[in-house]
């Protein structure tokens, strides 16, 4: 690879190819660490609480939530849109950045894609769970039935939602999994027991690393990237239509599709930042997920955060400009009504806090980045809450205005989805390669002279002073000279 003197290294720590493999595969094969066990335990508790609250809801009814005649959706759809939004970064990183040849994506794309999958799973819980009769949820699918013309209503944005989300989920899952195939092969090759070998062999569909394999793999990646790129835009556009096609002031807005997409990318990157700052330090992946990665993502957050801010401003302007009393009041009420606090949380978290990322020092301070990313997550959750609850609770006919107060069960379910998400994410970290091994190797500097000399020297030194180390210089160097397209042992 061309060795630019200006470009920062995408992988630091002067890794050899072997080291990359070892760094990523060893945690999979070794017993879990205490940190992992602690995190997993915590996530499982949240999951258990969530399961309890979900079961309670299923048995008792939606009445166990705080909804009422006026506010028919609140936490449920807030969480749904929140999770769908989070699910945007993964595909954006893996698909759009792949098409744009943004090589830095390789360090974070695997984890981000995984996050997408888990977030969409969390999101998909809600449309089912929030139904009055969830056991009939399959009616949403256009299944052939014996009721004659009784089918679904293709005019309903809820039906579009189902298609959008399920398409997005399938394509994302496919993309993510297909990317995992060569790495599963690597894990299999490193596995020591027969059982593990067989499992990973199965998961890798018998990957052998032949040129044919690689050609097909590359082609598939490109095709899937092409397919998922429009999906990044379409999913949240359609989710936004759940609101935009209604007649409720504050929902009935044409700005929603771009606004929601920008918000989704914003929230997705917020969540990626949260996870990456943690993962890189807990799993000691600073060399793969570098400060450079974090900074790049911070910049995306600033950009999308300002788009979201622009949308907020536009909404207010249009409400004023429309001359519609209902619109004007809805937005007045958002900011200064009884739920005004949630509006200001949203604005300060989404518009103000990302502005700190203009400062390089802040972008490079992992603690601050983590905190701001949490703010972004909170802000984006509140954005959905504000849109849903403040629009509904004081809508057109004032006699029906009513306040909404969430119940324990609703909090429990939300925490439960966090549990689902993190449990799945921890399992992923433990059993799947967190970094796309093959792809990372493609962006390592392996061909420039400086690299070679630096590296060999160091390796030789290493061998000289640490003969106990399992793999020698020659092997390392030899690996380093191999073409990155070839599979690594």
């Amino acid at each position: 690879m061309y060795d630019s003197p200006i470009r920062e290294l995408l992988i630091t720590g002067k890794k050899t190819y072997t080291q990359v493999t070892t760094d990523i595969v060893n945690p999979i094969l070794n017993p879990p660490t205490k940190g992992w066990l602690f995190g997993f335990g915590l996530a499982s508790i949240a999951l258990a609480l969530g399961l309890y609250c979900m079961t309670y809801t299923l048995f008792v009814g939606i009445g166990s939530w705080g909804l009422n005649k006026t506010v028919g959706w609140a936490f449920d759809i807030t969480n749904f849109v929140f999770w769908v939004g989070i699910g945007h970064a993964g595909t954006l990183i893996s698909a759009i950045l792949l098409l744009f040849r943004q090589k830095w994506r390789t360090g974070v794309n695997r984890a981000a894609e995984a996050m997408t999958i888990f977030a969409v799973i969390c999101a998909a819980l809600f449309p089912g769970l929030h139904m009055g009769r969830p056991w009939l949820a399959y009616w949403i699918f256009p299944l052939p039935n014996y009721h004659g013309p009784l089918w679904i209503n293709f005019n309903s944005p809820l039906a579009w939602d189902v298609f959008a989300i399920s398409t997005y989920f399938s394509v994302s899952l496919l993309f993510w999994y297909s990317g995992l195939i060569p790495d599963f092969g690597t894990v299999r090759d490193r596995a020591k027991t027969k059982l593990v070998k067989n499992i990973y062999n199965g998961l890798s569909f018998g990957w052998v690393g032949s040129a044919k394999n690689w050609v097909r793999f590359e082609a598939l990646s490109l095709i899937l990237a092409g397919v998922s790129t429009p999906l990044v835009l379409s999913v949240h556009t359609i989710v936004s239509m759940d609101f935009a096609t209604s007649v409720i002031p504050g929902w009935h807005t044409t700005i929603f599709p771009p606004y929601f997409v920008a918000g989704a990318i914003f929230s997705g990157f917020g969540m990626v930042l949260t996870l990456m700052t943690v993962v890189r330090s807990v799993m000691k992946l600073q060399d793969y997920i570098t400060i450079g990665h974090i900074e790049a993502m911070c910049k995306v957050v600033v950009a999308t955060g300002m788009m979201v801010g622009l949308a907020y401003g536009t909404e207010f302007f249009i409400a004023f400009y429309s001359g519609s009393d209902y619109e004007m009041y809805t937005f007045f009420n958002r900011a200064f009504g009884p739920y005004g606090w949630s509006y200001w949380i949203m604005v300060s978290c989404n518009v103000i806090s990302p502005q700190l990322f203009w400062f390089k020092k802040i972008r490079q301070n992992m603690v601050l980045v983590f905190i701001i990313s949490i703010f972004v997550n909170i802000g984006m959750w509140f954005e959905r809450f504000v849109i849903i609850v403040t629009s509904l609770h004081r809508d057109l006919v004032p006699s029906s205005w009513f306040m909404y107060t969430p119940t324990f069960i609703e909090f429990g379910i939300f925490i439960g989805t966090l549990g689902v998400f993190f449990t799945a994410f921890f399992l992923f970290c433990k059993f799947f390669p967190v970094i796309a091994i093959a792809e990372v190797k493609s962006v390592m500097r392996s061909s420039s002279d400086t690299y070679r000399t630096d590296h060999i020297k160091e390796s030789q030194l290493e061998e000289a002073f640490n003969p106990a180390k399992g793999y020698g210089t020659v092997g390392g160097a030899a690996t380093a000279y191999k073409s990155p397209e070839e599979p690594q042992p």
Binding site: G72, S246, D325, Y329, V397, W401, F402
Partner: protein
């Protein structure tokens, strides 16, 4: 294609002509029918025709000619009856506080719904909320099911013997009952008195009219409550008199009042003038043109001033004293207007103070009201009770001189100011019996509790007004071992006749008169009924359409009040003296009226609390506070500001010697120096639903000159620091400057309508709909609601509950905003003095108040319909927005997207008795009795589905079938949703907008639905939030207040 042909038989093969004849028929011929075909030249259709006719004829003939002697519920259903066919029987609701001539709908031999009896001249339309709810009482599982001695079972014979012994030994017998309107009961009691002269009947009314009775005795020498005729008055002035809500006979008065309030033309001049002086806010005050807040203690002095002003203008004799000025000098204005309307004016006061009523009588005499608007000749029997006699009885009981005390469906231990003293006193009687339907605070103190039949289980006849009879027919044999009062009296008098024979003999009616009486339910019915079967409505409709064949229907064509008027009298000679005394007394009272005063009022839903066990009524929101399940202290805005009181703050209220802690409700319109508390709450011995509902305010009542006073001075309120969340169904009072309701003044009517129409035309031309226009074939159901006539009484809400099996969800669920009512009555405080665009959430201190019934608008282009992912809510070809419960899986998007927020979600399984013990929809194996009140035509909705108003689709269907069977076009009266039927003011018009014979078609806005394009629209009609292009099937008629200024009334 098969080329081979297979034959079924040789005949087929041979193309046998016999065979070919048969082969064309769809079904093989039954040998029996074949025989019939041949012999009678009849066929299957003919057979069905004959069957249909004979069933119909049998039913009609059976109803016509066989006097019903026994009515028993079916164990095995006879073949001749059809389970799904609804029958109506005429009956009467009278519970001591109000009267209503009713039709009771019976299905499978059980009464399930109360409807207004349009044959009645007294209550010609609708019912009250309470009479609607009364049918629930028959299926109340906490009913007294058998006579009891203490808690043990007793025997009727034992009780009969007790009474007979008492009779024989000449013991003093005291019967305490609410006003007795039944001539039959009176006759039996008279017989008893003949037998035993120590028998004395004391009539005691929980909502007393003692003041009116005494005042009329003094003024005219007749101790009666006269018949007030609001329908004949052009100018009505009320003083603390909630005649539309709870005073004397609200259903009747609402019908009368509304006659001159609603109009269907372009000329608002018909609208009468109604000025209301009042302390607490009532629906009457809200309905009035002007509402002037006064202190209750000032009422007499204000009336005195009014009297003297009128006297000086009409040349009458003034009374001593100056009286008192009202706010904004309004008494002078009112006096001028009253005199201008002399002979068409009516002044009424709800006061129970004899002195006040004396002055009211004097004013009405000056105004000539007794010849035109007040009828002493055909006086009312609805209130005959005497507070002094009740007090005397209490003394007598305390003395221990009563041998046998009989309590009849009355509850003085709860409703009398002396309260608990009654239970102690009753225990001193040698023997005490209580004849009650459900145990109450007083009956439990009696030695024996006799299970009384529900009024729908017993024969009786009522004479609500002199000369007007009203039958009380049983709909079902007593469910339990119960007896009516008449049956008890007959048993004690050893009268072995059947109760109905006794009544008929008493009334001395021949067969045809009796049958006709049973059919129409009332004497002197506005419509003659030839046959029994009480399809009174239909009969009337036919006569109506005959006589007004071409003319546009008018409101008056529907109600023909030809009620006789006998007139009144001159003030008695000696009355001058008592009037002078009264004038002095009211002056003194006004002088002493300083500080905070408490008004204790009967609420629209619960009245005196006798029906507090009926969950429909507990969950019926208070029309003004929009609270359910509890009473509250209505705190005026000014006082609330001074003391920092907010709604839901628990206040310690001290009135006289009574102190209660009640949550506050800051009530705009409440006079600044008064508080108000509803009576009827805080029952302690009552069915489950009435337990722990509010606090009892009856002990706060005071006795003044022997009369119970419903306004008491010397009240105080203090914050306790605690809060109690009232279960409110509406939390926002103002319209926020939105055109949700529209109102104008009589003066500004033309201008307003023009402006509105200009605005609307602009709207219709500039806003386009994305939906294609659809042609309309067949019926198109629409509703028009006259905001001028809607009083907010809530009868429609309870009627809807009963008709559509709406679940009762209980206090906690209402607090969470989950009441299930399909129709609600929004109450708006209109800020007339503020700029329209002002988003003011807080109403003024004394705002105008308007009610708006809100139900599914059945939008032509319904926002709910396109968002349902599974097509569970769809549009019918007749314009109905239909909800398919089976298909709904509960995404609630439709409810979110409903601009009117009328969709209701089944948050829980409302059939779960453990959680929703009060709901008639819920049942368990033991106490499932309540479920018998459910309407079998309407599904009980499952958990997790959306529901809403269906325009009573089941009634529409029945009406269509009725018309189809009769082979005629559908009449407007064939299809009345429960709310329209129940409305006592007839504010709800319903019908087919495509049919010009339907009145509603002429009350419809121009260009509102595609179907009416090009038709002349009614300019007064408007849709709510029309700019959304939902094209609703409900139009509201602009409220027109009969006043000059557009600003509000003068404020105190």
């Amino acid at each position: 294609m098969q080329e081979k042909k297979y034959w079924g038989s040789l005949e087929e093969r041979n193309n046998d002509p016999e065979y070919l004849k048969e082969a064309k028929k769809e079904f093989a011929t039954d040998p029996f029918l074949q025989e019939m075909d041949e012999n009678t030249a009849s066929n299957r259709r003919g057979f069905l025709k004959i069957l249909g006719f004979s069933v119909g004829a049998t039913a009609t003939l059976a109803a016509c000619q066989t006097p019903v002697k026994y009515i028993l519920p079916y164990v095995n259903q006879p073949e001749t009856t059809k389970g799904s066919i609804t029958d109506f029987y005429a009956s009467t609701f009278y519970d001591g506080t109000e009267y209503g001539a009713i039709l009771v709908r019976s299905r499978d031999g059980r009464p399930i719904k109360i409807e207004g009896n349009p044959s009645s001249m007294i209550t010609p339309q609708g019912t009250s909320a309470r009479s609607q709810a009364s049918v629930y009482g028959i299926y109340d599982s906490k009913r007294l099911r058998e006579p009891k001695k203490g808690t043990a079972k007793a025997d009727w014979k034992e009780i009969d013997n007790l009474v007979k012994q008492a009779n024989a030994s000449g013991k003093s017998v005291r019967v305490l009952a609410h006003s007795i309107t039944s001539p039959a009961t009176k006759a039996l009691l008279a017989q008893w008195k003949e037998k035993n002269e120590n028998v004395k009947v004391v009539q005691y009314d929980s909502l007393s009219a003692h003041g009116i009775l005494e005042a009329h005795e003094k003024s005219f020498g007749k101790r009666v409550v006269p018949a007030y005729r609001f329908d004949r008055a052009e100018m009505i002035v009320g003083f603390n008199c909630d005649f539309l809500g709870s005073w004397l006979s609200p259903t009747e008065f609402t019908a009368q009042w509304s006659k001159k309030r609603k109009f269907t033309g372009d000329d608002p001049s018909i609208v009468s003038r109604h000025v209301q002086f009042e302390s607490n806010v009532t629906i009457t005050g809200a309905a009035a043109d002007e509402r002037i807040p006064i202190k209750p203690s000032h009422e007499g002095a204000l009336l005195l001033k009014l009297h003297n002003l009128i006297a000086s203008m009409t040349g009458g004799e003034s009374l001593p004293g100056q009286g008192m000025e009202s706010a904004g000098n309004y008494i002078n204005v009112v006096a001028n207007e009253l005199v201008a309307n002399k002979g068409k004016a009516l002044v009424v006061s709800g006061s129970n103070d004899v002195n006040v009523q004396l002055i009211v009588n004097a004013i009405n005499v000056l105004l000539g009201a007794y010849d035109n608007t007040i009828d002493i000749g055909n006086h009312s029997n609805l209130r005959q009770g005497s507070d002094t006699e009740a007090e005397a009885l209490l003394q007598e009981l305390n003395n221990g001189s009563v041998g046998l005390f009989i309590l009849v469906n009355s509850n003085p231990a709860y409703t009398h100011p002396a309260g608990k003293a009654w239970t102690d006193a009753i225990k001193k009687a040698q023997t005490s019996l209580a004849l009650v339907t459900t145990e109450n605070e007083t009956s439990t103190a009696c030695q024996y509790q006799l299970a009384m039949s529900h009024y729908l289980e017993a024969w009786d006849v009522h004479e609500p007004y002199k000369g007007s009879l009203s039958i009380q027919q049983p709909l079902i044999a007593p469910l339990f071992n119960t007896r009516s009062l008449n049956e008890c009296l007959m048993a004690w008098l050893e009268d072995t006749r059947k109760p109905n024979d006794m009544i008929r003999e008493l009334l001395d009616m021949n067969e045809s008169a009796w049958i006709s009486f049973l059919g129409s339910g009332v004497t002197g019915a506005s419509v003659k009924i030839e046959k029994e079967g009480t399809k009174a409505e239909e009969k009337k409709e036919e006569t109506k359409t005959d006589s007004t064949a071409k003319a546009e229907p008018k409101v008056d064509a529907v109600i023909t009040l030809s009620r006789p008027f006998a007139g009144g009298g001159e003030l008695a000679k000696e009355c001058r003296e008592c009037l002078n005394q009264a004038a002095n007394a009211v002056q003194t009272k006004a002088g002493s009226g300083k500080g905070l005063e408490a008004v204790l009022y009967a609420s629209v839903a619960l009245g005196d609390g006798s029906l507090a066990h009926i969950p429909w009524l507990q969950e019926l929101p208070d029309p003004l506070a929009r609270t359910t399940w509890d009473n509250f202290v209505a705190v005026p805005v000014k006082l609330a500001k001074e003391k920092g009181i907010k709604t839901n703050d628990v206040l310690k209220v001290t009135v006289g010697k009574t102190t209660v802690e009640l949550p506050a409700f800051v009530m705009p319109g409440q006079q600044a120096e008064t508080i108000a508390i509803a009576l009827g709450y805080g029952r302690t011995v009552v069915g489950d639903a009435g337990m722990d509902c509010g606090k009892n305010a009856f002990p706060m009542l005071s006795l003044e000159n022997g009369a119970v006073q419903y306004a008491v001075s010397g009240a105080s309120v203090d914050k306790t620091g605690a809060t109690y969340k009232l279960a409110r169904v509406q939390t926002q009072g103002t319209t926020m400057g939105r055109d949700v309701i529209r109102e104008t003044t009589k003066e500004g009517y033309g201008k307003y309508i023009k402006e509105y129409q200009d605005q609307r035309n602009h709207l219709l031309t500039h806003l386009v709909s994305l939906y294609p226009e659809r042609p309309q074939i067949g019926h198109r159901w629409v509703m028009a609601i006259d905001l001028n006539a809607c009083t907010g009484c809530g009868a429609c809400v309870v009627a809807c509950n009963a008709e559509n099996n709406v679940a009762v969800v209980g206090r906690d669920e209402v607090r969470r905003g989950r009441e299930m009512h399909w129709i609600r009555i929004d109450r708006y405080y209109s800020d007339t003095t503020k700029e329209k665009k002002d988003w003011n959430e807080d109403p003024e201190e004394y705002p105008d108040i308007t009610f708006q019934p809100m139900l599914c608008q059945h939008c032509g282009d319904a926002p709910c319909e396109n968002v349902c992912p599974v097509l569970a809510t769809v549009h019918s070809s007749e314009g109905l927005n239909q909800q398919a419960y089976n298909r709904c899986f509960g995404t609630r998007y439709c409810a979110n997207n409903c601009p009117y927020k009328v969709r209701r979600f089944n948050w829980f399984d409302y059939t779960n008795k453990d959680k929703f013990m009060y709901s008639p929809t819920s049942s368990d194996e033991i106490n499932g009795l309540e479920r018998f009140v459910l309407n079998p035509d309407v599904t009980i909705r499952a958990r997790g589905v959306m529901e809403k108003c269906s325009f009573c689709a089941q009634r529409l269907q029945a009406g269509k079938l009725e018309a189809k069977k009769a082979g005629r076009l559908l009449h407007e009266s064939d299809v009345k949703p429960a709310c329209a039927q129940a409305c006592p003011s007839g504010a709800i018009y319903f019908g087919d907008v495509m049919d010009d014979n339907h009145q509603v078609a002429h009350l419809w806005p121009k260009d509102s639905l595609v179907t009416r394009e090009g038709k002349k629209g009614y300019d007064r009609a408007f849709h709510v939030i029309e700019e959304l292009k939902t094209r609703p099937s409900i139009a509201y008629l602009v409220r027109v207040r009969n006043r000059k200024e557009t600003k509000g009334s003068p404020k105190a």
